[in-house]
């Protein structure tokens, strides 16, 4: 395991209600400042693994270490972005973005100041006082992302954040996410079932096998991103190779 792994998963297994084995003996490290994806067929336990790392559900066996400390529950160095956005329907965008800070007891003026900055960062300036039901799926997830950024965690855990967002919005969002993360130097663990999304976004792709999920292969696409546009990246040989390599592995799992 690499020395600069900020998150280390050691022998993690998860059995639900003593019957369903979701994960078995997963061991891997997530390098600091990189974007790693957990990719696999549905039901492979990738969301379960993410939630175990997030401290939202306990592992049945094994341990997770974050920044050298054993995970016993959620922590301030990890922030979560949910598949279904998990926004408070009765709260404005501003309050939703500030909600993590509100729970930490940050004074109103201070947390709203931070929230306003994050709202600008995710491209929602002007929507501070709208309610989630007035926003499209893509915009709601920007709120979810801004909320995660507002608590200034080192690690952002994203659970299929774009799965309820239409394709065009998703592509735009992906580009902006890459840009944002490059500037913020965050460690991101990203769950997806989209091969293209994984290859496009990731520094590192962790392929999980079907249930019970375990690490099947780790791929490092090694795409030189630099200042290149999204289209250039999508024509990059390494990008196309990664997509192909992933598909060659995953196709065996598809019944």
């Amino acid at each position: 395991m690499s020395a600069d792994a900020i998150v280390e998963v050691a022998g993690v297994g998860k059995t639900y209600e003593g019957r369903v084995q979701a994960l078995v003996d997963v061991s891997l490290g997530f390098p600091s400042g990189k974007l790693s994806t957990l990719l696999g067929p549905s039901g492979c336990g990738k969301t379960t693994l993410l939630k175990i790392i997030g401290g939202l559900i306990p592992a049945t066996t094994g341990e997770v270490w974050v920044k050298g400390r054993k995970v016993e529950g959620p922590g301030p160095e990890r922030a979560f972005v949910f598949q279904d956005f998990a926004l408070l329907p009765w709260a404005t965008v501003l309050r939703n973005v500030a909600f993590g800070l509100e729970l930490r007891g940050v004074p109103t003026a201070e947390r709203e100041e931070i929230a306003r900055q994050q709202i600008v960062e995710v491209g929602l300036a002007g929507f501070e006082s709208t309610y989630p039901h007035q926003l499209s799926g893509g915009m709601r997830q920007r709120v979810g992302l801004a909320r995660a950024l507002a608590v200034d965690a080192d690690i952002i855990l994203m659970d299929e954040p774009f799965s309820s967002v239409d394709e065009q919005t998703r592509r735009k969002f992906q580009e902006e996410l890459l840009d944002l993360l490059r500037r913020k130097q965050k460690t991101v663990i990203f769950v997806t079932h989209s091969i293209e999304e994984a290859a496009y976004l990731s520094d590192r792709i962790v392929l999980l096998s079907p249930r019970p999920g375990t690490v099947s292969k780790i791929i490092q696409p090694n795409i030189a991103r630099g200042q290149r546009s999204a289209d250039e990246i999508r024509r990059d040989k390494n990008y196309l190779d990664a997509v192909d390599e992933i598909w060659q592995i995953l196709r065996r799992y598809v019944a």
Partner: protein
């Protein structure tokens, strides 16, 4: 041409038309006459005005509203308390839920003699009749409101380091607010039923007394006026609360995000 057309106006018009239609039929049926005991609409209205003028109707309502208001306030405090307790704690749920399920299913008219037997014929008995009828719906609504909290929001709260009490105050209670309020509204509706049953079955007081008395001396317009007045007051109150509910808890701010 500027659009001054407001969608409200035709609706109000239709409301008026439907009222005119119903009251017109009532008038015709009363004059036919269907039965000597069925007064036309106009006579009922006149009787209502007479009872307002001689003070018998206001006096009756003063005494009817007493057990109703006390009972509904009791349900509001204790009922919502029990409901929230049941929603939050499995132990309270195990202990309390069966009681309210039984109360909800029990035919109230059959229990009223029992209440009279134990608590006599005074205010206590009438308050209890209101409480027994109104409490189950208040409690069950609060309980369901709490239990139906979107689990994803609770997980979000935990992920962002919310404590259990923050989870209750900032997620669960706001989420349940609309259902709790709806429970209170339905509780009040049941309370109206309870208080009239109590006044008819326990001792004739208030509006129950007006109905029984005027029917016994064959003052049918007065009897109908008393019946119509309680229906009118109950529906207006419930309707008003429903509008307040929509204003306090707009449906689009309640749904899942």
């Amino acid at each position: 041409m500027p659009r001054t057309h407001r969608p409200e106006n035709p609706r109000v018009l239709w409301h008026l038309v439907s009222f005119a239609l119903v009251f017109g039929c009532w008038e015709i049926a009363g004059r036919w006459p269907i039965s000597v005991a069925f007064p036309p609409f106009s006579q009922t209205v006149l009787a209502l005005l007479r009872m307002l003028a001689d003070g018998s109707l206001p006096k009756a309502y003063l005494s009817t509203l007493q057990p109703l208001v006390i009972g509904v306030i009791l349900c509001g405090i204790a009922g919502i308390g029990f409901g929230i307790g049941m929603g939050l704690s499995r132990a309270v749920e195990w202990f309390t839920l069966p009681v309210f399920i039984i109360l909800q299913a029990a035919p109230m008219a059959a229990i009223i003699p029992l209440i009279t037997y134990i608590y006599g014929i005074g205010l206590t008995a009438k308050v209890l009749a209101v409480v027994f009828l109104a409490a189950p719906v208040v409690v069950m609504n609060s309980y369901k409101g709490i239990r139906n909290t979107n689990p994803s929001l609770i997980q979000m709260c935990r992920a962002f380091l919310g404590t259990r009490s923050q989870e209750v105050v900032k997620i669960i209670l706001p989420h349940a607010g609309a259902l709790i309020f709806a429970g209170l509204r339905l509780g009040l509706a049941m309370g109206f039923i309870g208080v009239v049953i109590a006044e008819l079955l326990i001792t004739p007081t208030g509006i129950g007394d007006l109905i029984t008395y005027h029917s016994s001396v064959a003052d049918y317009p007065e009897m109908f006026a008393a019946v119509a007045s309680i229906i009118l007051i109950a529906s207006l109150t419930i309707h008003g609360l429903e509008r307040l509910e929509r204003r306090l808890f707009p449906p689009e701010l309640r749904g899942s995000s």
